[in-house]
Subunit: 250 residues, 2 copies
DNA sequence: GAGCATTTGTCCGTATGTATT
DNA sequence: CAATACATACGGACAAATGCT
């Protein structure tokens, strides 16, 4: 099969992009069209191809920029640290509290947190930026019986983990987690500033207190696929192998 | 912000698509252009939008068809069964052995299987179809010390699990697994019949024998995002909470 | 197998809209 | 306000794959 012209151009550009720092501005559609002697439509197709490969990001009116994906590993063996993960990848992490308010637990979160529905809790909405680019939004629920008041603390100290440790006197660790690739609801689309109906990462998580085993926090986090590569590791130790259900098909 | 014409058309079509059975043929670009009084380019943009939402599949020369995604849940509590999962979703599963050959274990697989590099093993390549559409390809490695000869059995019995149980006299269960969303290598691109450089699901997995705890099989499976929605569930039982590393950031 | 209509894929040139700088 | 850059849209053309006759 013959490679299409825009495909060849995309391959050429992709090779050149490999040398560049994330955030670098890429040649405009017009200049690509001129350089390769094609129409702007073909040049555009090539850049869209690169966007599909997650190699670039495009901003209307501003230009096209070299993209980078942060590997975020979710594992049972390691406690999560988004800020550290981003920094270790050589990027600049920032998170912003968008909303913090008392609420009553919705059914799903109540069940996960092993509380009764409508139990009093704190709802926390945050946005996460990598190198100034919005990459994720999260909603977190913390039952009021873990920490009574959270508003002031949340603005002084960005890490919820630290707040729970200091104010709640608990030691939270991730006890359950579900990762999928789904279509976000309208509210999330607004918060993530993404196109409606476009699939993004969804990580649902619940943490327990190490000592008591009691759930102390749960969250749902939506992340743009172009900005992070979520990796989930699942491990069953040999001693626990028998605990599982059995079927006879691969 | 005003919604673009092709976006409106996409929304209209998406609503209509919801009523249709998977596999149904969708109106052609030309007829959409005529119906909505727009150019073919705009109609095409609308259909491409639907493709991006994973609602349709397009085949050159044939047409555009309603798509369905199969939810495939990977969990510690449940043994995997691809055929059953697909059937339960109301679709028709089929897997085909493409290649079965003796080989020496590559470094990565040798390490995972706790064998020495270049140890003799069987390499098995399979393709998976849902409703006749190619959705996944897998490579599986089985050390020769688990089953000596596998060629004939593999063609008579599709389930590797069953072969291992009967010929290898082991009871395999998934002990480790890693899921990510990655760019496939050229060989995989050919086997998956997908575009180069397009990200797809990658599930790496290793199974141990229940009784001995010894690794008996490992595999890498690549799956098209438009055909499956991979969900990974990770759970740490309260008793094991202390086993993990600690950090102090969320 | 050959021929034909259909359908998507690619590409051209041009024009206008809209967001950013 | 002007220049730049991406977004949307038009109309036309041919290529390539598919499915049917």
């Amino acid at each position: 099969m013959v490679r299409s012209r825009y495909g060849q151009i995309a391959d050429t550009l992709a090779a050149e992009l490999g040398e560049l720092e994330p955030g670098t501005k890429v040649a405009s559609e017009h200049s690509i069209a001129t350089r390769f002697g094609v129409s702007r439509a073909a040049a555009r197709a090539a850049v869209q191809e690169l966007e599909g490969r997650l190699l670039v990001r495009r901003v209307r009116g501003a230009g096209t920029f070299v993209n980078r994906r942060i590997d975020y590993v979710i594992s049972q063996r390691k406690a999560p640290s988004w800020h550290r993960t981003v920094r270790e990848a050589g990027a600049r992490p920032r998170s912003v509290v968008r909303e913090v308010s008392p609420c009553e637990l919705p059914a799903e979160q109540a069940s996960l947190l092993e509380r009764s529905e409508f139990a009093r809790a704190h709802r926390l909405v945050r946005q996460y930026y990598v190198d100034g680019l919005l990459t994720s939004v999260s909603k977190e629920w913390i039952p009021a019986d873990v920490v009574a008041d959270i508003d002031l603390a949340v603005h002084a100290e960005e890490s919820v983990d630290t707040i729970l440790r200091q104010m709640g006197r608990v030691c939270p660790v991730r006890a359950w987690c579900r990762v999928s690739y789904s279509i976000p609801d309208a509210e999330t689309v607004r918060a993530l500033e993404t196109e409606p109906h476009r699939p993004v990462w969804l990580v649902e998580s619940m943490s327990r207190d190490t000592a008591s085993g009691r759930p102390v926090m749960c969250s749902t986090t939506w992340s743009l696929p172009e900005s992070s590569r979520i990796v989930v590791e699942l491990e069953t130790s040999p001693e626990n192998l028998e605990e599982r259900e059995e079927t006879h098909e691969s």
